[in-house]
Symmetry: C2
Subunit: 433 residues, 2 copies
C-alpha cells in the first residue's frame, strides 16, 4: 500500500495559501525526507489566474486552474489544503475532498467551528485525516497537544487570549488611557485590525477558536452559537483606569470550564488580577492556559498569526497527512464527539463582577443600590464613589461583588435600570477566571 | 493486522511507575475508547514484591514479577513502559524490548540522552515506536511539538528553564537575598531538592533534557558530554544583588542556538533582562522558549514535574503506541539524526559577560583591569566599584562587557588571576541569550 509520492492540491493562494505554496516548494527536500517519499504541490485552484500577481508568476502557469472539475480531476492528489477561509464555498470543497478519499488540511476556523461534527464523520467514513492546527493560534501548537500530549487528562479548563487584534487594542487602551475608537484606528493603521473589524472586536473570531479547542478538549460538539459572546466595543477608558486602581487589567478571554459534567463556554472581557500570567500577555501575542487533572496548568504562547507562522502549522498538518497517505494508514485521529458533556447555560455561571454606574449625586442612592444587590443575593465586596460631576449632579460609582450568579446579576441590572436615581449602568465586567 | 487488545508491561513501580499504573487502571475505559480496543496493564517487573507497599497491595499479586525471564515471557505485551530511571539496567531493558518488537515508552532522560542514536536505530530496525515525552518537562508538551507542530521549521533556538529544583533555589536567593547553601537547605526541607542534589544543582539534569530537545529540534545527535555545563553552586547573594541593581535576574538556562549550520549547546547561569519572559518564570515552574524560522517564538510552560504530570505524558505516549500497535502500523516517527549540524566549541561562542572581582583598593587597579580586557579584545560597557572593605584594603568591582568571545574571556580571566592587585575573580556570568 505504500505510495511512491504524495501530491497536494491547494485551494486558494492568498496570503496564507501563498505562504504554504512557497514552503512546499522551497523545502521540498526537507519535507520529502521526513515523509520518506517526494511530497509535491500538484495543483492550485484559484478564482482568477492573474499573471501580474507575484505569487502566481513565481509558479508554472499549468499549476493553476480556475476550473473546479479540472482541479478535482487532477491525478495524484492525496491531500487537499483549503486556504480560502469563510464558511462557503469552503465547506463544499472540504466535503468534496473527504468524499473523494483525500486527506484534508484547513486553516479555516469558521468552517471547522460550524461543521466539525459533519466533517469529522465524513473523514471517518472515508478513512482519511481531517486536520486544522492552523485554525487556532496560527503556528502555536494548540490542537495537537489536546489530541496527543494531554489525551490522558480530563481537561478542567481553557483560558485563552486568542485574538491578537483585540489584545493589541486592549493593551493600547490600558497603556495610553485612550478610548476604544482611537485604539481601533491605531490598530487599523498598523494593519493589526481589518477595515471591517467586527469579526475580531465583536468576539466572533475568539468564539470560533474556543469552539474548536473545546471540541477537542471535551470531546463534545460545541457550535459557535453555544458560546456566550461579548466583544470589547463597550469598554471605556474609565474602565481601564478603575481596573488599574483596583489591581486588575482587562483582557478579552475565551473561557471553557468543566465541572460536574457540565462545561461553561464564554468569550467576554475579564478583569484579571495584575499578577496573573494571562494579565501580562500584551500586544498581538496569544496565550492559552489549559488545566488538566493530571498535568495541572500548562501554557502555550506565541505571536501565532501571520502568513509564516500559519504556514508552519499548515505544513505540519500536511506532513502528518502525507505520512498517513504514504503508509496507507488512513484516519488515525483519536478525536471523537461523544464526550457527552452538557453545556451550562450562561445564566447559571458564577463569578465576581465589576460594575460602573452613573448615579444621581443625592443622599440615599447607595442604599438603593445596596438594596437591589441584596434583594438579588449579590454580596458586595467594595463600593467606591469616583468622580462627581457637579453640572449634571451625578457621580460615578464602582462596585465589586463577591461571586454571584449571572442570572441574579442580570436581574439586578434590570432593577438598577428602572431606578430613577441610577442614570446608567455604564458597564459590568466579569472578574477573575 | 488489527489487534483486539493491547497489553502493557511496566518496569518499576516507584513514584512515576505507580502513578502510571493507577492511571492505566482508573481510566481504562476512557483510554480504551480512544484506541478502539482494550488497553490493559498486563505485567509489572519490580525488584522486590513488598506487599506492605500500598501501591503493590492495590493490584493483584499475580500482576507482579521479580523475574526478568518471566516478565519477558508474559504473553500479549505490546508496549513496555520503563519507569526505573538511570542509565543501567534501564538501557538493557529498552534494548531488549525493542529487539523483541515491543513499542517502548520511557520517562528516563538519562538513558535517552546517552543512548538515543542506538535506541532510535533499534526502533527503526524492529519497526516499533520509541517515545519519551515525559523525559523532558514532565507533563508539558515539549517533544511532540518538535516532531509534529514545528516540523516544517528550521529551529533557530531553544532557551529553557527546565529544572524546577534550581529555579526554586534561584528564586529564593533572588527574593530573600540568602546564600546558595541556605536556599538549598530550604529546597531540601520542602522536598524540592534531593538529599544528594548534585544532579540538579550541577546542571546534569538540564544537560540531559537539552540533549534530548536538541536531537529532536536539529535532527542531530547530541551527547550530554557535547554540552557545556556549569551549575549554580558558585552563585552568591552578591551576584543577585548586583544583578537586580543592573536590571537583571539570574536563571539557569539550557541554551541551544543554531547559526551557519552550527549549534551551540550550553547549560549555565545567565543574567536575563528583568522584562524578558523567561526572567519572570519563578519557583518550580519550567518554561521553554523555542524559535522556528517560520513560527517565530513559541513558549511552553507549566509546573511539569511530579508523579501526576509525568504520568500524563507517559500515558499520552502509551496511547500513541497503543494506536500504532493496534493498527499494526509500526514505527511512524519522523525523528532522524542525519541533520548534519556541527557542534560549535564553547570557546567560539559570543555573548556579553558580567564579572565580579575582588581587587586591592589602590590607585591604578582599574587601569590594569582595563588593560587586560583591551589586550583580549573585550570591550567594557560599564565598571562599577561596589563595596570597599577597609580592613582588607580591598574593593569589589563589577564589570559588564559588550559581546565578546568566550575564548578571549577565558584568557582575560587567566591574566586577571595572575595580577597581584586582583585578589579574586569571584564570578563571571554570561549575560542575555
Amino acid at each position: 500500500m505504500r505510495k511512491t509520492s504524495i501530491g497536494i492540491g491547494l485551494i486558494g493562494i492568498g496570503i496564507i495559501g501563498g505562504a504554504v505554496a512557497r514552503v512546499l516548494r522551497d523545502r521540498a527536500d526537507r519535507l520529502s525526507a521526513q515523509v520518506g517519499v517526494p511530497v509535491e504541490l500538484r495543483r492550485v485552484k484559484i478564482a482568477d489566474i492573474d499573471l501580474t500577481r507575484p505569487i502566481i508568476a513565481e509558479f508554472p502557469r499549468e499549476l493553476f486552474t480556475t476550473d473546479e472539475v479540472d482541479f478535482w480531476a487532477t491525478p495524484g492528489i492525496d491531500i487537499v489544503v483549503e486556504a480560502i477561509g469563510g464558511e462557503f464555498p469552503a465547506f463544499n470543497y472540504l466535503e468534496k475532498a473527504l468524499r473523494s478519499g483525500k486527506h484534508v488540511v484547513s486553516s479555516n476556523k469558521e468552517v471547522i467551528a460550524k461543521h466539525a461534527a459533519e466533517l469529522l464523520d465524513l473523514s471517518r467514513k472515508n478513512n482519511v485525516g481531517l486536520r486544522f492546527e492552523a485554525a487556532v493560534g496560527g503556528g502555536i501548537p494548540l490542537l495537537q497537544p489536546f489530541q496527543y500530549d494531554l489525551s490522558a487528562n480530563e481537561i478542567k479548563g481553557i483560558f485563552a487570549i486568542i485574538n491578537g487584534t483585540t489584545n493589541y487594542i486592549l493593551t493600547r487602551m490600558a497603556r495610553e488611557g485612550i478610548e476604544f475608537s482611537e485604539a481601533l484606528k491605531q490598530a487599523q493603521s498598523l494593519g493589526y485590525a481589518e477595515r471591517n473589524p467586527a469579526n475580531d472586536i465583536e468576539g466572533f473570531d475568539s468564539v470560533y477558536k474556543l469552539s474548536i479547542m473545546s471540541m477537542l478538549a471535551f470531546q463534545t460538539e460545541v457550535k459557535p452559537d453555544d458560546i456566550y459572546r461579548e466583544g470589547i466595543t463597550k469598554l471605556e477608558a474609565r474602565d481601564f483606569k478603575y481596573a488599574e486602581e483596583l489591581g486588575f487589567v482587562i483582557k478579552l478571554l475565551a473561557i471553557a470550564k468543566e465541572s460536574e459534567g457540565e462545561i461553561e463556554l464564554r468569550v467576554h472581557p475579564v478583569f484579571l488580577p495584575r499578577d496573573y500570567f494571562l494579565a501580562k500577555v500584551d500586544g498581538v501575542f496569544n496565550a492559552v492556559l489549559t488545566t488538566g487533572d493530571l498535568v495541572g496548568d500548562v501554557i502555550f504562547s506565541g505571536q501565532g498569526a501571520g502568513p509564516a507562522p500559519t504556514s508552519s502549522a499548515v505544513v505540519a498538518d500536511v506532513l502528518a497527512s502525507a505520512q498517513e497517505a504514504a503508509s496507507g494508514v488512513g484516519n488515525r485521529m483519536r478525536w471523537r464527539l461523544d464526550g457527552g458533556k452538557r453545556l451550562r447555560p450562561m445564566a447559571d455561571i458564577t463569578t465576581r463582577y465589576y460594575f460602573r454606574l452613573n448615579v444621581a449625586d443625592k443622599p440615599g442612592v447607595l442604599a438603593h443600590i445596596a438594596g437591589i444587590f441584596g434583594d438579588n443575593n449579590i454580596s458586595i465586596s467594595s463600593v467606591i464613589q469616583k468622580e462627581v460631576d457637579e453640572t449634571t449632579e451625578s457621580a460615578e460609582v464602582v462596585i465589586m461583588t463577591h461571586p454571584a450568579r449571572e442570572s441574579a446579576v442580570r436581574r439586578a441590572v434590570e432593577a438598577l435600570d428602572r431606578l430613577d436615581t441610577i442614570k446608567a449602568v455604564n458597564n459590568f465586567i466579569r472578574v477573575g477566571i
